[in-house]
Amino acid sequence: MKRFFAGLLVVLTLLNGGVVRADTKVGLLLPNTGVLAALGTAISEGFLLALDEAGRSDEFTLITEDTEIKPAIGLAKARKLVYQDEVDVIVGVVSSGVLGALRDFIHGAETPLIVANAGNNHATGRDCSPYIMRVSFSNGQINRPIGTWLAEQGVKTAYTLAADYAAGHQMIESFGKAFTDGGGTIIGSEFTPFGQTKDFSAYLTKAQAAGADAIFVFYAGSEAINFVKQYHSFNIKTPLYGSGFLTSPLYVEAQGDAAIGVIAALHYLPTLDTPENKIFVDAYRKKYGTIPSEYAVQGYDAALSLMAAVDAGGNSRAALAQNLPKIRYTGPRGPLRIDPKTNNIIQNIYIYDTVRKNGVLTQKRLATIPGVRDDAAGCKM
């Protein structure tokens, strides 16, 4: 009997074109509730789109787990994915705190993790692991280029503001170091209570009074919306610069005209004029009815890398961990590859201005810093 079924299987396989493609089990670890839920949605939309476009949705079994924004819950869910669902790979992780909590577990469980957002420098720096690949960005990667660029533009002094949490500090430190190395001076710096500050007027007034050439900030989500609108309403003459999350396409419409003229740096712009990006933007718009954000492209690239790695060596955990860092291709955001020294992505960083064109807010690229890579920063694989 057993032999009969084995024979049947061989026949079916031959009929199928001779390729046995076992399903790949993917754990999608994203926040579906809480303040980061919108980011989680964008990432999973991008991920699904890539599978869909490749016509390979059937080949990947997705198991979705909600991390909220709580590191302990994220860790519990990751354990569930590994021990109970026995996934081949985990994709996702939005908040740096969750990534920090997962690190030792992922490393010990030898299950590959494709980070699709969390930018914590340490994850591909001093705490790096051969099982953690990042296709999104690192906090330093986004902010160093704009620090250097700003100094090159002749800006002498800057005042910085950011939300008071780990990511905020990393973003501002990276910017500050690059800006100072380029010959600039940071004349003042403030961190605002994270999640509590909705009205930035007190800080804006202080930043204005400092009299710097530029204000550089890191805010994301609703804090970014509020900050940009309030900066605009105070009619502050010091120009505003920031990490690109400040005027992300995901919520720039909520900022309205206030976003115009804000200069920021990001690893993806929906307006990039490349064939890969055109295809992506059209497909995304067709499926979801909106312009893709950098979060959507992170999910998209996570899926593209995963499919490429499966094709290269199958879907066992070890093979995926081995093949994922070898990925290189040109995607919507330009040429990208994984740095074997850190497992962080090497990609272009774009400096852009938000403008109104044909009635809608859109991004105008001012400069491209190609192939930005992080130095090893204590990472030993």
Binding site: D199, K206, N226, F234, N235, Q255
Partner: protein, 293 residues
């Protein structure tokens, strides 16, 4: 001389920032505190009504094309929702004790949170200030956003109106009498339950008004209700539950502590309001201005 002028204008600006935040807190806390004073009811869902005000305001502004219509209609809609809540839940809970009221209205916060997520999504929404108020006003050597001045004016107007109604009108006298002693007021022929309903609706409308008014500055997020709940409760508790003067005093204290804490000791600003709340309660367990003797 130049520096001194700089300094003076800096502090004037910060005072205005504090005043503007205080007025927003006042709009929210006054409804909460008067409802408590009169109905002896702690309505945590007040914060959800504030959130609904913001979201409805944004939709109405998109629909009518005018901020002013939104500012007028959204509070009325929120008042309608409040009236619905009154008949289904609040009236039933009048005698259920503060613990049960806190719990039911806490449950309502959860319900409204997800209803808003279903209706408007997870992405924060913005509302543009009306064109007439989108610029800045120049006075006393400073530039200040007109919209923020408008909020200060709005808060001041509501404050004055409340005072006038409570101190100078017949209905105000009835409300004061009922706060003082409900049974006595009923014995004197005041229709207490109708009065309660009226006050509850007005409180809800004020929460909605605060929501629309705040939207151009703070935008609308699904967590805005829970986030504002704490400072509002702090205002009400510091001031003394049920006291109008307490709400005014509490709003001003929290507004100024928040802004000047951020300016003068930023490392501790996140702790300051909590420390103040704890200190006030330890010193005066019923708030600074207790509503009843």
């Amino acid at each position: 001389m130049q520096n001194v002028a700089m300094d003076v204008s800096f502090w004037i600006l910060q005072c205005l920032n504090a005043l503007q935040y205080a007025m927003l807190l006042f709009l929210l806390s006054v409804g909460l505190t008067v409802i408590f004073g009169l109905l002896n009811f702690v309505n945590l869902a007040h914060a959800s009504l504030y959130m609904l005000g913001a979201y409805l305001g944004i939709s109405l502004a998109a629909l009518t094309g005018s901020f002013w219509w939104a500012l007028l209609i959204a509070p009325l809609l929120v008042m309608g929702i409040g009236a619905g809540l009154y008949f289904t839940l609040i009236a039933r809970l009048r005698t259920a004790g503060p613990m049960n009221q806190v719990l039911v209205t806490f449950g309502l916060i959860f319900v409204f949170l997800d209803l808003v997520r279903i209706g408007w999504g997870d992405i924060a929404l913005g509302l543009a200030a009306p064109p007439a108020l989108s610029g800045t006003l120049h006075f006393l050597g400073i530039n200040y956003p007109s919209y923020r001045l408008f909020i200060i004016g709005l808060g001041g107007t509501v404050m004055a109106g409340m005072w006038f109604i409570l101190a100078r009108t017949q209905i105000g006298a009835m409300i004061r009498a009922s706060v003082e002693n409900t049974d006595m007021a009923a014995a004197l022929g005041i229709d207490v339950s109708r009065l309660f309903f009226l006050v509850f609706c007005c409180g809800c409308a004020l929460a909605g008004l605060a929501g629309v008014a705040a939207a151009p500055i703070l935008s609308a997020t699904t967590t805005m209700g829970i986030t504002i709940l704490i400072p509002t409760m702090i205002v009400v508790v510091i001031g003394g539950l049920g006291s109008l003067e307490g709400a005014i005093l509490g709003s001003l204290i929290i507004g100024f502590i928040d802004v000047f804490g951020a300016v003068l000791m930023p490392s501790f600003s996140a702790l300051l309001t909590y420390a103040l709340l704890a200190a006030v309660l330890v010193w005066r367990p019923h708030g600074l201005i207790a509503a009843r003797g």
